[in-house]
Symmetry: C2
């Protein structure tokens, strides 16, 4: 039960901080009203965030008949955070101020086939250094790095990245630490984009949400009871490798009929090839170009493109209905680059198909929407992991029941 | 966040009470050590349970060099609880003492086709009265009634019970209250058996567990983060209606290829019919007799029966692998009467098939076991809901942050 006591304290702290982000100064009373926490709890949590330098006091507001109320706000420039989205073909890094606004960006390519660990590490380090060197923002409190595949976040190890042929564990945090002198937090893009939805997107304030990531690989981030469900070994969400068609298409995981084989970018290319073999939308060696071509053409009403969207929804619909039936969420968020490219036409087709496959009750309870997060949700979520890591190192000790020794940002980073 | 604060308090109270059940008197210090809660928290929670009369003080134990420590234990006879398992073909009620030991049982049949709401209500009421009239146990604190299908537990309404042809909502609690003068808690057997595993079975002390219920219908109860995951409209767990074979066998829910169509009792009968059309194991109009015949024959090594178990595992394996991949649980518990009847042979076949379908990491992290709960897990879980309901009405008020006015058992029941 210790774990739960610590979780609740941590969740409350995030909730208070989230409410302060990117808005004018706010009173403790407003925070209590908005979060439903007691004034005493809000007072304690705000005190911790003030001690850490993340919040500052400033200004007063009249209260009807009472003492003027002191206001607090985020000290955006007092520190900064880095979020890194390592994908199959690129590395994208963003630096954020403490309001989680982007202050610098950098991108590097990962050439197809160039996936030896030492090379990948060098490219990541180079991308991060580019945003660290940017002459903007406060001291860097940490960097979150999201890697495809299975990740051991405690150990900072990439356990399994099949799309790169990494079948052996790679001690990524240790390798990166040889290049970078900031606290590093390793995790998976699926969990990052889910946290981004929880903090800033369609899952904000919802108890139960599922974030369906559609990219080269696919997965479903689970935000249950208002927090990220990681599972016992941090691999929850492998919806891409649940069975949709028993004994169906082969999947690169070794099994057959997996959801990913039908609705990941290569699966969608196969759907296109099967329906319209000579289609000009098909760029045989370029997933991104093909998916974007389908998306543009579908938006313009191309029958061929809409065929592919419909065929993809024929598979995606029952797979999303499975999530709705099993988890009974308030909202299903379609996220990542394939969802963004296929956009409105995909969402409306999927809604229809889910309605035919899901049970009436859970279907009626579940919204299905495109991610409203305006920037890259993976780097935003990765930066949030770095912020959570910083807060975790400063303020809640291992017993989870008493605040431990605190550090200022200068001391803690 | 209020919801979470209340949840944690409630979860801690259950945890303390669970540790006291069915054991000799225990000290607050032992409870604190076993639960990981602070002494102050344990002291408060034990105080509440003493005020309610559920615990009593008695005896002391020496502590090395300190004051003797006071002991507490459950006052088993101070009240009792009723749990009712309403299934497609029968109603089974059990009365429990406060140690959750069975003190009386009653059974009634529900004839096939006799499923009008008024008749079902009369049979349930008659079964409950039989255990209420038993001259044993303390005053009844409440009765939990578990109904197949979708249940609105707040409203006490059976929303949808397709196996009975109940497509309209039935206000079951209201109808039952005309016959029974005890607090009634309506829920679903899937959630009851999951709570039984959490309190007394294979999910006890585990963070993430899935309870796979195999009966006429099938479902997966989700115990995530140590508590029951209900979803936004209390329907989470409808794994029976997730898609295993796109466009496959028709399911009574109206969709095709659902897990239930292959591994529910009627689906297993169909597996038998397809493999061995004239098998003597088949009792055409009797699911229970057929499944039990398969189970007995499989245990004796019958090739025909083992064929059916293997074919069922060929479908059940990938469907369980989907749960392992998606949720990354510590344990998957196979429960309910079909799992009990097919027993060891089914579990060992399923383990093998799951290993071929699940990803290596989550498979390695997940045990797959038969339910160890020795009595009917649904009536046990239903009684637990009644206990939770009693505790909820006495001790934690609607804000969830302060203990409300307390009642003794006599006053509260």
């Amino acid at each position: 039960m210790k774990r739960m006591s610590r979780d609740i304290r941590t969740a409350n702290r995030y909730e208070v901080l989230r409410r302060c982000l990117d808005r004018p100064a706010v009173s403790r009373q407003e925070l209590a009203a908005e979060t439903g926490l007691s004034s005493a709890t809000v007072g304690t949590l705000v005190g911790e965030l003030l001690d850490l330098g993340i919040l500052v006091t400033g200004g007063f507001v009249d209260s009807a008949g009472g003492r003027p109320r002191g206001l607090v706000s985020v000290d955006a420039g007092h520190g900064s955070l880095v979020g890194v989205d390592v994908a199959e073909t690129y590395v994208h890094a963003e630096r954020f101020d403490l309001n989680l606004r982007v202050v610098a960006r950098a991108d590097r390519e990962l050439r197809p086939g160039a996936h030896e660990p030492a090379h990948v590490v060098a490219v990541i380090a180079d991308t991060v250094r580019a945003v660290l060197d940017a002459d903007t923002g406060g001291p860097v409190l940490g960097a979150g790095v999201c890697m495809p595949g299975l990740v051991d976040r405690q150990g900072g190890i990439s356990v399994y990245a099949p799309n790169w042929g990494w079948h052996e564990a790679v001690p990524l945090r240790e390798l990166l630490a040889q290049h970078l002198d900031v606290p590093l937090y390793l995790d998976n893009p699926l969990r990052a984009s889910t946290v981004a939805e929880l903090w800033f997107g369609a899952a904000r304030g919802r108890d139960d949400a599922v974030v369906v990531n559609l990219g080269t690989g696919v997965g479903a981030g689970l935000a249950l009871g208002g927090t990220l469900h990681r599972g016992v070994s941090n691999s929850a969400g492998e919806w891409g490798h649940t069975t949709l068609v028993l004994d169906g298409r082969p999947c690169h995981c070794g099994d057959r009929g997996c959801v990913e084989a039908y609705v990941g970018a290569p699966g969608i290319m196969r759907n296109l090839r099967e329906l319209h073999p000579g289609s000009p939308l098909l760029h045989p060696d370029d997933q991104t170009a093909t998916i974007e071509a389908i998306g543009r053409a579908a938006a313009e009403g191309s029958a061929e493109a809409l065929d592919v969207v419909r065929e993809t929804a024929r598979y995606l619909g029952p797979a999303v209905a499975d999530l709705v039936n099993l988890l009974n969420p308030e909202v299903v968020v379609l996220s990542s680059w394939v969802a963004a490219a296929l956009g409105g036409p995909l969402v409306s087709e999927v809604r229809g198909v889910v309605g035919r496959h899901a049970l009436a009750g859970p279907f009626a309870a579940a919204e299905i929407v495109l991610s409203p997060v305006p920037t890259d949700p993976v780097s935003l979520g990765a930066a949030t992991f770095a912020l959570e890591g910083f807060l975790g190192r400063n303020g809640v000790d291992a017993t989870g029941l008493r605040p431990g020794p605190r550090a200022s940002i200068a001391g803690g980073a």
